[in-house]
């Protein structure tokens, strides 16, 4: 029993990160039908800059904030210079390669900064573990899935009640029509990337105290976040959050009852199978083929 709860709690923590990363993919995809393929590196960037800030003796909260803001700026620049040039033609996947390239460069810069080591980021959330029905977990870990859910609801509220939120939905629905209605599509896309990258960097800062900061921390998280987004249906915010949390829990049970190495095999196989059965994900909207 304790073991089961332990797996669920640990799974929720890691699942929360997947959910946040996947939410970023959802926002970017809705706006541009393209994503930053190296979104995991945005996460890394936020965490790395927070640590660099702390090294420079900036107080922890401000360092974290600076890391997150830098992440958002990075997202805007990336969209403008690495993605937009390639989304003009609908079938192009050039943006996949350019964003991978930027990811490689960012990672190598971070390696230059850190050498090969992981670095800790202090946080009151990992001082001591709390125990729930015998299972131990850091408060920080509990905060991650809660934050993911809050972001999801916040996003919904924003889409309902703010002008920019509604404009985002319009752009997601039909770019050309949105432009005809006087919406500055480029600005909305840039805003979406800023928001997605902000969330990504925030995820990085949030998870850093738990998993430590290193140049390579983002790569696999990013890939799994994308897998989760696809499983949940990249067009559905609640879909990606729910599947992110479930994916995290599933991983822990696979680790617990089968083996660690089986985790990747099973996780990615599940993704492929879901994609074959539901090409638009479990909760995604169907896009009708028009001849």
């Amino acid at each position: 029993m304790t073991t089961t709860i332990q797996y669920i709690l640990s799974g929720l923590a890691i699942g929360g990160i997947y959910a946040l990363v996947a939410l970023g993919f959802h926002i970017m995809w809705s706006a541009a039908r393209a994503v930053n393929f190296a979104h995991g590196d945005t996460l890394m960037l936020g965490a790395v800059l927070a640590v660099v800030g702390v090294d420079a003796e900036i107080p922890l909260p401000i360092a974290c904030l600076l890391g997150i803001i830098a992440g958002a700026v990075f997202g805007v620049l990336l969209e403008r210079f690495a993605i937009r040039p390639f989304t003009a033609t609908s079938n192009s996947i050039g943006w996949m390669l350019t964003t991978i390239a930027v990811g490689v460069m960012i990672e190598s810069l971070a390696t230059l900064q850190f050498g090969g080591f992981s670095r800790p980021l202090a946080s009151p959330g990992v001082k001591s573990a709390v125990h729930i029905l015998g299972a131990g977990v850091y408060p920080q870990e509990l905060a991650i899935p809660v934050f993911a859910l809050l972001v999801m609801f916040g996003l919904k509220l924003m889409q309902r009640h703010t002008l920019v939120g509604r404009a985002m939905q319009a752009v997601a629905h039909d770019k050309r029509a949105a432009a005809l209605m006087g919406i500055n599509v480029n600005r909305i896309v840039a805003f979406s990337f800023a928001l997605a990258s902000l969330l990504g960097a925030a995820a990085g800062v949030l998870v850093a105290p738990v998993i430590q900061v290193s140049a390579s921390m983002g790569a696999l998280l990013g890939l799994k976040g994308f897998a989760v987004a696809i499983i949940g249906g990249i067009t559905s915010a609640p879909g990606v959050v729910i599947s992110g949390l479930c994916f995290g829990i599933m991983e822990k049970f696979v680790e617990g009852y089968i083996s660690t190495a089986a985790r990747e095999i099973i996780g990615f196989s599940v993704m492929i199978l879901v994609l074959l059965a539901f090409p638009h994900g479990l909760f995604g909207k169907r896009e009708v083929l028009k001849v």
């Binding site: 390639f86 990811g103 890939l223 190495a261």
Partner: protein, 598 residues
């Protein structure tokens, strides 16, 4: 230009011979052998990326499958290098088929993610399946390359690699300039149009995946023999990216581009080493530069620049072509094609786009289908040509059931169509567009394409001559070598008709062919439709232009709200009160207005 390919192949062979003779030491030769192996992967991947337009970011997974299969076959079962290669080719080929399956449902970034996932799964299976793969420790002591127990010297093994790369490059070049290369490009640019031309897009994609998998598998086996050690961390995601970059850097779709790309990216790490800590950064920067500065790749850019300097003559000698009267003629008994649609009903959600609609196109007649916007005309066309499934009802062509068949099978039965929004293969030349339409009439197979047998050459010649003749027929001879997307709109419509005719259809569906045309162009169209009908092709014309219909049609069917409200000869239709009401929502006394308009 005609001798460019043979000259390039000759130079390539000369380089392959010269390198071992000039290599300073074994290390240099080995590095070159590594390039040959990467070259084999890149050349195969080029079929997938450059021709079929599919992106694989899991090629390292197939490479790993080949490496492990080859290594296990040789260490456990004592296979020689030929046996191991064949075994590895079969195994990775099967996985190629498996990987092609998702393309039926997903494309683009989704497919890319599936291939990434595949690569990661293979890597982790190699880690996990310790009894077979040695786990993370990998497999060592793979025997030296040997054939039938005779050990190959370093230079002999070099010879095997060089010949393999050379032959693969040549075979894939042959594939590219055959029907397979042409239709792969077509499918990549418009799957819808391909299906309507009877091209088997799923089959072609599977073929592309299998070719790229088999080459990667063979390359993998060579790799394990060359290195005599393999472990899972050789086959990572970044290797997949590198293989893809080889193809793009060199020039996707070109014959020698992938080889050049493989060469550069094999030697690049040697030079990047001097950047020490910056080498990964430099690698990322290179990828970025390639995407921005050389999106066509090196060879592609050279070709483009060359074409800018000396553009090929746009026109072809019309004398090369064969007259359509001979190329499109059917056997007498096949002449009359009769299309019968009975009680078709198509629903989208709760909405009935067609309800109980019936229609009969008699052999050799020009039948017009008209109706106001949203009447269900396009749905009707898409249902007949197999793009939609009817919920009820059936249609037949000369008594052959069409309902339930795939659109490509319907096209092969002799039903060709054009599209309301033209669906050309934009980046192919005008001539190639028509040749793609001829594809269903070609009979030669893959082996014949790879070996360029006399039969293949003869059929290709006929295909080309027919296409040239068809271009003359629609008046596009002077644009034969232009890229289709650069044609003015009116000419694009004509090209679509020529392409649809190339398959020698017995029934032609024209979906609003006059939309967007000038008066002059409409007159030309009218004449053309008459000439097509004169060839013995039945025509179903979906149109708005009343003048055109009245001038052309033998019979008119009117749709409104998904139902057939009238079907008669043009004059009778003109006076039919229901038709007038459908169009104008007005009673009888307005009939005069329509009459005047006609």
């Amino acid at each position: 230009m005609r001798y460019l390919a043979p000259v390039c192949f000759f130079i390539f062979a000369a380089i392959l011979v010269a390198v071992p003779l000039t290599a300073g030491n074994e290390y240099e030769l080995r590095l070159f052998m590594l390039f040959l192996i990467y070259g084999i992967i890149a050349v195969g991947l080029n079929v997938l990326v450059g021709l079929a337009g599919l992106v694989s970011l899991g090629q390292a997974g197939l490479f790993a499958l080949g490496s492990y299969s080859g290594a296990i076959l040789s260490t456990r079962l004592g296979f020689d290098i030929v046996g191991s290669c064949i075994g590895a080719a079969i195994i990775s080929g099967l996985f190629g088929v498996l990987l092609a399956y998702p393309t039926v449902r997903v494309r683009g970034v989704y497919l890319a993610v599936v291939t990434i996932a595949f690569g990661i799964i293979v890597e982790n299976v190699a880690i996990e399946w310790q009894s077979l793969t040695g786990g993370t420790t990998g497999l060592s002591s793979i025997p030296k390359p040997n054939i039938l127990g005779i050990r190959l010297s370093g230079f002999a093994f070099y010879g095997v690699l060089a010949v393999t790369l050379f032959v693969f490059t040549l075979l894939i070049h042959n594939l590219k300039i055959s029907r397979f290369g042409r239709t792969m490009l077509a499918v990549a640019q418009s799957e819808t149009a391909s299906r309507a031309l009877g091209i088997n897009s799923t089959g072609l994609r599977t073929l592309a995946f299998v070719i790229s998998a088999v080459t990667a598998g063979i390359a993998g086996t060579f790799y394990s023999f060359l290195n005599s050690y393999i472990s899972p961390d050789i086959f990572t995601f970044s290797d997949s990216v590198r293989f893809l970059l080889m193809v793009i850097l060199g020039g996707a779709g070109s014959t020698f581009g992938p080889v050049i790309g493989a060469y550069l990216l094999t030697y690049l790490p040697e030079y990047l080493q001097q950047f020490q800590l910056w080498q990964k950064f430099a690698y990322g920067a290179l990828l970025l530069v390639v995407m921005f500065a050389l999106p066509r790749g090196i060879v592609g850019t050279l070709q483009w620049a060359f074409n800018r300097l000396r553009p090929p003559a746009p026109a072809l000698a019309a004398t090369e072509g064969l007259p359509v009267e001979t190329t499109l003629r059917h056997e007498k008994k096949m002449l009359a094609a009769e299309l019968v649609a009975t009680a078709l009903t198509v629903r989208f959600g709760g909405l009935s786009a067609l309800s109980n609609a019936s229609l009969r196109v008699k052999g050799g007649e020009i039948h017009a289908l008209i109706g106001p916007n949203g009447a269900g005309k396009s749905t009707f066309v898409n249902t007949i040509s197999g793009f939609y499934r009817p919920d009820e009802g059936r249609c037949e062509l000369d008594g052959v059931e069409l309902t339930g068949r795939r659109s490509l099978d319907i096209a092969r039965l002799g039903l060709a169509r054009t599209f309301q929004n033209t669906e050309l293969f934009g980046e192919m030349s005008v001539l190639e567009n028509v040749m793609a339409g001829y594809d269903q009439r070609l009979t030669y197979g893959l082996t014949q394409a790879l070996l360029r047998t006399p039969k293949m050459r003869r059929e290709e010649r006929e295909c080309r001559q027919t296409a040239i003749g068809l271009l003359a027929f629609v008046g596009l001879s002077q644009y034969a070598n232009e890229e289709a997307r650069f044609l003015p709109f009116g000419l694009q419509r004509r090209l679509e008709i020529a392409r649809a005719l190339a398959g020698r259809p017995r029934l032609l569906l024209l979906d609003e062919p006059a939309a967007g045309l000038t008066t002059q162009e409409i007159d030309d169209l009218e004449a053309m439709v008459r000439r097509i009908a004169a060839l013995g092709v039945s025509i179903l014309l979906i149109e708005h232009h009343v003048d055109l219909i009245m001038a052309l049609a033998d019979h008119v069917t009117v749709l409104d709200y998904g139902q057939v409200i009238a079907s008669d000869n043009p004059t009778a239709i003109q006076d039919d009160p229901r038709v007038i009401e459908a169009y104008f929502g007005a009673p009888l006394d307005r009939a005069a207005a329509v009459g005047a308009g006609a």
